[in-house]
Amino acid sequence: MMTAVFPAAQDAPAASAGVSAPLRRSPPAAGTDPGAPHPPVVRLSGICKAFGPTRANDGIDLVVAPGEVLGLVGGNGAGKSTLMRVLCGVTRADEGSLQIRGVDIAPDLYDTTLAQAGGIRIVHQELSLCDNLSVAENFFLEAPEAARALPGWRRIFRARARAALDEVFPDHGISVDARVAHLQIGQRQMVEIARAVATPQVRLVILDEPTSSLGLERSRQLRAFIKARTREGLAFIFISHKLQEVVDIAHRVLVLRNGRSVWSGPAVEASVEALVQAMGGPTEGVMASRRAARPAIGEGARERVRLSGALIAPLGRDVVLRAGEVVGLAGLEGSGQRDLLHGLYGRPGPGISRAGKASFVSGDRQKEGVFPLWSVLSNIALGRLESRAPLGRVDDGQERDAARAAAEKLKLDPARFDSPILDLSGGNQQKALVARALVGEADTILFDDPTRGVDVAAKEDFYALIGSVARAGRLVIWHSTEDIEFLECDRVLVFSGGRIVRELVGDEITEAAIVDASFAGTGATERDATAGARGPLDRLVDLAPFASLAAVFALMAWVNPLTVSMFGLELLLGPAIALVLVALAQMFVVGGSEIDLGVGAFAGLINVLSATLLFDTPWLGGVALLASVLAYGLIGATIQLRRIPAIVVTLGASFIWLGLGYTLQPTPGGASPEWLSAAFAWTLADVPATLILIAVAAVIALAIDRSPLGVVLRGFGNNAQAMTLGGWSPLRYAIMRYMLASLFALAAGLSLTAINTASDINAGGPFTLISVAAVVMGGCALIGGMISPLGVVAGALTLALVGALLGALGVSTDYNAAVQGCLLLSMLALRALADRREARR
């Protein structure tokens, strides 16, 4: 019995220290069967969680036994996601208790780390992979315990990834070394599922809409796998809109509605109809009758939208949408519905024409809808500004009247106009966004899944409104992820593989007809064998920094043949070592999608420190150098903790470094410590030290980047949110990133001292821009997560050579800054154009 209660102690030695403290043995509760061999994997009781006025969870109980599949269903906004976030330790419940494998856990100590130690893993709807990393590296992020900072550490994760994918999805065709960005959406979902179930000591896997991007065959494989693993005692929570799937796979089903659990029982007692009833969703009959009750569209209603060309090729005729209609865009997610909506809103592409004005209402309120700093009224009133002159005056009173009229139609209380928009519930926020479209007086309103995360009452208000809005003379185009909503529509266009394959009108619209048509052309989406193959073109792009270095070098050699001698190389490239090191420092910061505007000044400060303090009083100089590295870590911590832009902080810091340098040494001078000069003045087989040290710096940076630490840093640069959810500390790695950068910048400062045998606080300043240029030339992405140490070294050397080349050609040094600036801009412009071409492809 003891072993059953404290399994974590044996199974997860790495995590046990963190787990045992907050866990305490629960008294034998009246509810638990003392004879049961295994306690439930998790038991949540009376979970309550409110966001502002919305009670997302209201006293929910949930129990999952080992080897059980619990189906969790509920409409949008029923509270499923919140409950799962509570279960995974992402969100802290306001009330309720939590038990993992029979052990009570203090709710305020429960977090993602504890949830993971308890063997709970979730496969999110929003994918949580870092797409700049390989499949194997993503497996590492999930269970890093086995990693060692030795060459070849990836081998174990490569094997684990391959085994897991083979087990869940036979013949998956995914290379474990492929970058996730190169996988298709369905393949990413497969990787994510395999990653969760392959974690050592996993006991409960939560699958949130796991089949939304999977084809029929892959879904079948997944269900077979779930059945096989439950026999070994693994438990699952299966969340899906596809109720038939839930009924088929689950042992028990829990139905949520408006934050409460409304039905719970064995799956054999559940049917799709009964579940729909319990979810309180609209039934087919109600929605269809509402459609039938609408007045007919007048004859000769004005044409608003015409679709033609490839989009409607399967239909074989143009589709004309008229004022007064409610038109649904159906199909599997990502089949082209959104593309059409955006095409209709923005510049109409080929085959899409629209007359009159349009407005857009998105269900993704945070990203595409609300303006978080504004009141409800300002959020609504923005819709009235569209066609006005920029210097026109905005009038609070007029706005209020217009907004009031729209709000009344939507049953949105005008008394809340002055509240900040974020104080409203999801449903009321959505009403404000719909009101924004109504006050805009557009002829066509485009809805993109407008009822996402909205409570049932608000949904009803929305449905009631749609018909009257359309019949008042507008065209309503409505994309939804809930097929039942299409029963509200006068007409439904069903998408498959990016084309409209079916048009359903009036009574033809049923859920079954929509599903049938959606799957009609899905043969194409099943194709997933071309995973992660990199073309020769990609490799050519990787070589660009080295090619340009070679080109500039050749040019240099042509201008001055002495360049090719060892002496010439030392003269040209030796001084570049500082630039190389500063560029590597900048690279690590850029890898976190930040830019350091103080790195040059910092190298200048180190230059001064090492030529003054370190020369005069070595121990004091050493302490000062150490302190400066710590100060850099502090900068990283400030940026992370206070969530402020790195650029401004590092710009401020650059003034601090400069000020410190001036204070220490108002005019250039000082001297280099002997040992430091010596460190840069040896030769090995006639190769000068500086050249060897440049190579050494490149190798060290490469080793760090390839190490587990480097992978984690790149992960944060790409998808910090997913990393944090995965239990990685953003603060710790922000500090490490900046301290790593400061070590390279420190080396740069020391090399300046050794080579110039003196110091000047202004010596480092110009390095800031050149370091960014070198990083960009080296092939790193400024959005973070993609860095290439060797490319950066090549880029830095190229830039150093360009300076020398200009000198050799007799161009004044005054032009250096301009040439560097132009080079940087043209590199970025070329990159931008290349990216755009790729995006179009």
């Binding site: 006025p53 819709g383 920029p390 650029i647 810091a653």
Partner: protein
């Protein structure tokens, strides 16, 4: 109490105004010689800073961490250009003005093109254009033979009306116009919307590219005009004369209470922030601190204010649930 906090939250310029009053009071008491008269010296310096900072504020308002780092070079180059072209005569002033506006226009358009069309991060784009302009300044420095000013410009920059510096009048008018623009016009709403949520703004029918471009244009033009006036005030142009304005313009915006993440800015706050920053610098000069220490303090002030304000912006966005706000 909460009403007061809410009002302070809305009128964030109050903090910097309080800071100005406090520092001034302390200075007046501790150093007997700091009087209204010496305050006018502060006012002139702060007025120059305000003009530049207003442009920076517009760029910051566009969000996503946008910042204009080219203003220092624009300012210096304009000062050189106005001196070279005007050559000390009022008759050539229109030509000089055209040259200065041309510099602002070209730089602003270049920045806007790089940021809006090529999607290059604003810091990198403006840093690079700044470097290119720095080279132009080096070349202009070789041409700039004399230091003769156009008399009219000199009057504008250094003159007084009833003892009030003309520059202060110009700055206050500019602040009032910017305040109206931000708070009362369609453009102000659009700018704020773009700064809060660019994608949502585009989906609400705002031409986000134009709005962002206009901010960069305004910033470059203001910096160029300030450079001309500053050149006339100090009686010449010199390399690095724009350098202090890089951090100070940003510092004034942040001190004034505009959100560094964009979407919410206050022109009055930028005025107060400029005064506060200049007062801090003046205090350090009076106290006899060396130039290096002054740099350190300015850097620390900007980071400290950001660290304090950054948390506020985050709280605001999360909109902590209030129990009394629960809907019936």
């Amino acid at each position: 109490m909460t009403a007061l906090m809410e009002r302070l939250e809305r009128h964030r310029w109050v903090w910097s105004a309080l800071g100005v009053l406090l520092l001034w009071a302390v200075l007046s008491i501790t150093t007997g010689r700091f009087s209204l008269h010496s305050l006018s010296g502060v006012a002139i310096s702060a007025s120059f800073l305000t003009l530049v900072a207003l442009g920076q504020m517009l760029v910051v308002t566009t969000g996503r961490g946008n910042i204009d780092l080219s203003i220092a070079s624009v300012l210096t180059l304009s000062a050189f250009a106005s001196i070279v072209v005007a050559a000390g005569s009022d008759a050539r002033l229109p030509l000089a003005l055209a040259a200065v506006l041309g510099i602002g226009l070209v730089t602003g358009l270049a920045n806007a093109l790089l940021v809006v069309v090529l999607r290059i991060p604003a810091i990198i784009a403006t840093l690079a254009t700044g470097y290119i302009l720095a080279t132009a300044t080096l070349i202009a420095n070789r041409w700039a033979a004399g230091f003769s000013m156009s008399p009219f410009l000199k009057t504008l920059a250094a003159g007084r009306v009833e003892g009030v510096p003309l520059m202060l009048v110009i700055a206050v008018i500019a602040v009032a116009l910017a305040g109206l623009l931000l708070g009362r016009t369609v453009y102000g709403r659009r700018l704020s919307a773009v700064g809060q949520n660019e994608r949502a703004a585009a989906l609400a029918g705002i031409r986000t590219g134009r709005v962002i471009a206009s901010a960069f244009l305004a910033s470059a033009l203001l910096a160029a005009l300030t450079g001309m006036l500053l050149g006339a005030y100090v009686g010449g142009a010199f390399l690095e004369m724009g350098q202090p304005y890089l951090l100070q313009s940003l510092g004034a915006v942040v001190l004034g209470g505009s959100l560094i993440f964009g979407g919410s800015s206050t022109a009055l706050g930028t005025l107060c922030g400029s005064f506060l920053l200049i007062l801090i610098v003046t205090t350090m000069q009076i106290a006899g601190l060396p130039a290096g220490t002054q740099d350190i303090v300015q850097g620390l002030v900007v980071i400290a204010v950001l660290a304090l304000a950054g948390g506020r912006a985050v709280r605001r966005r999360r909109a902590a649930p209030k129990p009394e706000a629960v809907a019936p």
